[in-house]
């Protein structure tokens, strides 16, 4: 059994590594497809000599395979070039913005997980009650309202009208409230809907009916029968939300002037700071792959069936 678990673990790690290589390769190809970096950097009026000199400096005059191998080598060493704007290591620039983004995404995801899962369970367990209907309607609204609109509404309410919270920046913990709620609202709505469907499906199953008939209390049925079987789809969605949170914060960070990676991404695209953009894309992709790996490994914990195919 332990050997089998190790095999499953190794297989999942192997798949994650292959995906990482494919992602790194895709970034390389897409960056080349986006246009000639020399033209982008020097502008259309640059002379042929200037272009040749710059190409030589960036290594763009070498064959594409050599460029690719050099790029791979740099990625493995953690060197993604020097930022054109900050004149520093691009990865260092991105990592310096990471703590604030992590703070925002962790707060938003905690808000989303608590409200979304609790709301989804309430909507599934009490579908006809006021609380069940309220959760269902709230999740529908959360899905429909774009985050930039919600951000403006929240700012008008809590910053302008009530003057409780600041409209932007990252000066204090109070600044975190509105961006976290704005970012977490959509994720909460998605989680609530998936949780409601998964829990309802589990509640309607025969094994739950059999448990009721054996006199097992509802609280125990919910904890021991319903939630473990509903956990797999919820975990999948949670994994995708966590993986996408690094780039998903772009709009919210911009609206609330939150100095995180999302804000840096928008600024760097505007400044054509390719090394920084590349570093952010690689970081976001790596976060998504690693989260999916963690979710895959989490399946074996919440659902023993995924660890054993014996019939």
């Amino acid at each position: 059994m332990r050997r089998k678990a190790q095999k499953v673990f190794a297989s999942k790690i192997g798949r994650a590594l292959v995906t990482l290589v494919l992602m790194v390769t895709s970034v390389f190809i897409l960056m080349r497809c986006a246009g000639d970096p020399v033209t982008v950097l020097l502008g259309p009026d640059a002379t042929a000599d200037m272009r040749a000199a710059y190409s030589g400096e960036l290594g763009l005059d070498r064959p594409i395979l050599v460029q690719y191998l050099a790029y791979l080598h740099n990625v493995v060493r953690g060197s993604l070039g020097v930022s054109y704007v900050y004149r520093q290591d691009a990865l260092g620039v991105v990592l310096s913005h990471l703590p604030l983004t992590l703070m925002l995404t962790c707060s938003a995801l905690t808000f989303a997980a608590v409200t979304g899962i609790a709301g989804g369970i309430a909507a599934a367990v009490f579908p006809s009650s006021f609380i069940g209907r309220a959760c269902t309607i709230a999740s529908l609204v959360g899905l429909c309202v774009p985050s930039f609109f919600l951000a403006i509404v929240l700012m008008l309410m809590f910053s302008i009208q009530l003057n409780w919270l600041p409209t932007g920046g990252a000066d204090s913990w109070r600044s975190l409230g509105l961006p976290a709620v704005t970012m977490g609202a959509a994720s909460s709505a998605v989680l609530a809907r998936y949780t409601r469907v998964a829990v309802r499906e589990s509640l309607d199953s025969r094994y739950v009916l059999a448990a009721f008939a054996r006199g097992i209390p509802f609280s125990r049925i919910l904890i021991h029968h319903v939630l473990p079987n509903a956990a797999v789809p919820i975990l999948t969605i949670l994994g995708l939300l966590i993986g996408g949170a690094v780039t998903g914060s772009t709009v919210v960070e911009t609206v609330f002037s939150w100095p995180g990676i999302g804000n840096l991404f928008v600024t760097s695209v505007g400044n054509r700071d390719i090394p920084v953009v590349q570093a952010i894309v690689l970081l976001a992709g790596t976060a998504m792959i690693m989260t999916n790996l963690a979710v895959d490994l989490g399946y074996t914990w919440v659902d023993p069936r995924s660890n054993s195919s014996e019939t």
């Binding site: 025969r206 094994y207 054996r214 006199g215």
Partner: protein, 299 residues
Amino acid sequence: MTLPIGPPRVRTPRASSEPILELRNIDFCYPAARRSAAEVLGGSRLNKINMSIRRGKAHGLIGESGSGKSTIAKLLLGLTAPQAGQIFFDGELLTRARLAAFRLRVQPVFQNPIDALNPATPIGKQIIAPLLVNFKMKSSGCQARLAAAISAVGLSGEILGKLPHQISGGQAQRVNIARALILDPEVLICDEPVSALDMTVQAQILNLLSDLRESRGLSLLFISHDIRSVAYLCSEIAVLKRGTIVESGSRDQVLLDPKTDYMKSLLRAVPNSELGVEMALPSKPCSQPIGRRHLPAER
């Protein structure tokens, strides 16, 4: 509340004519949200259902799909409440307050045995769960009863650590029966317990139920659309059509001398019916274990 530990008690029926479970004038209709599905199948309500299950006897309930058989099972298990009428258990009106104690004495065996088991929990834990919850027993204290329950259904201890998807349908139904037996119930409500199983396993499960009824003095309600299974196991049969019991009586009365056209049409639909209904009936009902030879040959 105490539970005897050790071999199951053998009940000597106080009086076999005495009903242990009784439905009186039951009316039931599904709520609007769930009615449409039942209406597609031809019936969404039960009308004035009167039926009783006597101690130590096996009662059959037959009828086509959508006639309300499973709804009656849910009512008898206290999983849903009737709009009108009363349910009596052991001579007392079944109320919400008595439901917890009632559920220890009346246990279900459902169709699709794999679906009736929690897919994420090992078999052994599922069987002892009612003891842990209802009697606050510790897992170690349940082992004797667990061994007795799985032995009674002809399973070995190896199965206890497995998950439901790792066992066969026949084994899963035996597990469901063991799970019901561990509480030492007086009544088993079997809702289509063999319809999802192949012929050989059907015969094994029918034999097992027949043996358990005799050895433990269990009362059985056997719900099925398969007249041959009901004919083999049950001494009393009720026929349900669109939520109404149209015919009931002893097995021989209902099967050999049907009164209604509906029952006659059900009998005509039995495979091998050209051989005569008598061929479907064991010569000595409910008295000895049978093998496949007692069931009509497969076509």
